[in-house]
Homo-oligomer: 423 residues x 2
Amino acid sequence: MTSPDPRELRAQGLDAQDPLAAFRERFVIDDPELIYLDGNSLGRLPRASRALADKLIEEQWGARLIRGWEEGWMFSPERIGAKIAALIGAQPDEVILADATSINLFKLVVAALRYQPGRSTLLTDNLNFPSDLYVLESAIKLLDAGHQLKVLPSPDGIHGPVDEIQAQLDERVALLTLSHTTFKSSYTYDLAALTAAAHAAGALVLWDLSHSAGAVPIELNAADVDLAVGCTYKYLCGGPGAPAFLYVRRDLQERLESPLQGWMGRADMFAFDLQYAAHAGIRRFLTGTPAVLSLAMIEPGVDLLLEAGIDALRAKSIAQTEFLIEAWEGSLRDLGFALHSPREPAWRGSHISLGHPKALGIDQALIHAMKVIPDFRAPDNIRLGIAPLYTRFSDLHETLSRLEKIIRDDLHAEYRQTTPTVT
Amino acid sequence: MTSPDPRELRAQGLDAQDPLAAFRERFVIDDPELIYLDGNSLGRLPRASRALADKLIEEQWGARLIRGWEEGWMFSPERIGAKIAALIGAQPDEVILADATSINLFKLVVAALRYQPGRSTLLTDNLNFPSDLYVLESAIKLLDAGHQLKVLPSPDGIHGPVDEIQAQLDERVALLTLSHTTFKSSYTYDLAALTAAAHAAGALVLWDLSHSAGAVPIELNAADVDLAVGCTYKYLCGGPGAPAFLYVRRDLQERLESPLQGWMGRADMFAFDLQYAAHAGIRRFLTGTPAVLSLAMIEPGVDLLLEAGIDALRAKSIAQTEFLIEAWEGSLRDLGFALHSPREPAWRGSHISLGHPKALGIDQALIHAMKVIPDFRAPDNIRLGIAPLYTRFSDLHETLSRLEKIIRDDLHAEYRQTTPTVT
C-alpha cells in the first residue's frame, strides 16, 4: 500500500471546501475523465445554454419566425450587454454586444483618433493580442493622418512595460490601448492606475478585456475608463466565436462617431431614410444585423458568473494559479519548466504559462496521451487556464502528475513534429 | 352548396403539379394554419438545421470543446462559402462567409476605392438598401479623399434608373454598386449588362445579392463581376442574423487590401506575429473570429436550394408572383391596391409589393386577424414574399382572399395606429 500523495490530499481538501464547487454541475461535462484547462480560449457549455438553444431554434426561429425580432431579438444586444456591464463595473447602458472583438476595436479606435485630432500617437505594448495590433495598423492606414503606433516592449516577455508606458504618456498621445490581462503571460495591468496616468496626459484609454472579463474584478466606472472591448467565448462561456462586447463611457457616447455606420445603429431604422443619423446612446455603435443565435447563447454563461460573484471567482482563481505555481516551485522547475507568468498573484489573470524547451511536444502529449487539454502559444508557452466555475483542484493535481510523467518517461518525444492544436 | 372558387381550384392544380412541392416537408412548419410570406426577410427553419444545432452544441461545443476549431470550425467560412458559390455562378474559392453584410460591404467598397485612386465617383440608386448607403457614406468619410456619392433616383420608385446609370458611367466612376434585386419594389437589374457597361467605363462593380441569392439565377463568373456581398438569412434560410457572404473575383483577390485586418485573415495566424500579412486568396477578407453556431447553421438551407436547383426555383417563383399579379389585375386593383413591383417577370425578384392608402392597417390586420405574415416597408408597401421551397399556390390564394375580406369588411380600421411589425 502506497502512502497518499500529499498534493492529492491537499487538492481534495481544497475541493471539499470550495464554495463554488456546485457550479461545475451547471455545465455539460460529457467526459468526466477529460481535464479541460482551456476555458480561457473557449469556455465550457452551460447546461442552460443547451436548453436555450432549443428554445431559440424551435420556438423562436421555427415558430415565431420574423416576429422573433420584436419579441426580443432586436434588443438582446443591450439587454445582455447590461448584464455584462454588471460584471465589469459599468452602467447598464454603457455596454452592448456587437460583431467580433476586432471589429469593435476598429470602431472605437477610429472614433477615438478622430476625437483627438491634435494628437498622433497610439500607445500599446508587445504583449497585446497581435490581432489588436493588426486593427490598430488598419485604423492608422485608413485615416492616413500621420498617426504613429508605438508598441512598447515588455522588459522580460512576461511583465507589462509599465514604467515605459508612463514615460511615454505625453501630449502627443491620442490613445493608450492595452490588454488588461495579456494572452500569453497572463500579466494583468493595474487598470485604474494606468487609466489615471493616461488621463493626466489628456489621452483616451481603451482596454481589451477579453482575457479578464469574468475572471478578474474590473471597475470601469470607478476607474473612469473611456472605452473597452472584450470577447464572450472565453470566461463568459458564450460559445465558439460568439459576438463580442464594447463599452463606451456614457458621456462619450454621443461625442464619438462610429466609422461603421449600419442600419442597426441608426435612429428609427424602419423609416428606411437614405441618410444616416446615429441612434441615441450606445446603440450607435452597432452596425449590421447581429448573429442572433450566437448572440443569445451568451446570456446563460454571464448569468452563472453573476450568480457566483466576481470576488469569489477571483479568490478561487488565485488559489488555483497559486496551487499550480507552488507545484512548479516544488517539482516542475527541476524538470525544465520555466514560469512564464508573474509570480505575484495581483499581476496575473486566470491562467499561467509554462515554458519548456520541448513545450510543443509536451502540449501534444498532454492532449493525445494524457486526456488533458491545455493550449499552446508560440514559441514555447503551455497555457493552463483556470475557469473557477468548473475547474477543480484535483484537475490541477492530475495535470501536474501527468506533466511530471510526460517528462520522466519522455512521452513528448513522439509528438515533437506535430503542428500545434488550433485554439 | 356554393360553386368552387376558380382561383382556389387553379391554386390546387398548380400545387398538385409543383415539382418542388416535397421540399416543404423539409422545413419545420409549427402551425399549418399560419401563412408565411416573409421568407425574403427571414427564411423558415430547415428540419436539418434543427438536427445540426444539436450536433453543434452538444457534440461539438459541449464535448469536443476547443478541438472543434481544428475539426471543422476554422474552415467552415470557405467550405460553406463554396456551396454558396455554386448557387451564384462563382468558383468555390471566390466566396467566403464573414461578419454582417454591412461590414463586408465596407471592406470591399474601401478596397475598391483604394484600388481606383484616380477615380472619385461612387454610383448607386435610391432603390438600394439604405443600410448600403450608410456604409458608402462611412467609407467616403473615412477615406476623406474627395469621393462623391451619386444616388440616382428611380424614375417611378419601382424600376431602376438604368438609362441614367448608363449615362453616368464615365472615367470618373470608381465603383458602381447596386442591389441586384431591390428590397422594396423587387426590381431586378440585368446584372450582366450593367457589369459590362461599368467595365466599359473602367469602373468596378459590386452587387448586393441579399434579395436575389437563392431566388434568382446569378452567374457572377459569366458576367465577370468584380465584387459582391449578400445575406444568408433570407432565401438561404440561414437563421436570424446569420453571417453574410462576400465574393471577390479570383484575379482581384490579391490585388485588393481589406481595410479591416484581423487575425482570421492573416497568413499563418498561429505564429502570432505582431505584423500583419494577408492570407492568400479569399481568406484575407476575414477579420475576427466568426460566430460559429450562427455560421454553421447556414449550410442546410443552402443544401436545399442546391438540391432543388436555381432554375426550378426561379420557374416556381415567377409562376407564383404571376399568380399574385393576375389576382391583383382581377380584383385587388379595384379594391384600391397599386402594384409597386415591375409587371414584367424578368424585371422582378421573388416578392411583390402592393401599395394601398391604408397599407399599414391592412398589413397589421393580415398578421393579427388573418394569420398571414407579410412584411411592411414604409411608407405604404405590403411585401408578399415567395420562397419557392415552401410557399404553396394555395397559400397565395388564401392570402388574396383574406386581403379581399379585409378591405370589404373594413378590418384594417382598428389597426391604423399600430406600429409596423419589426422585420
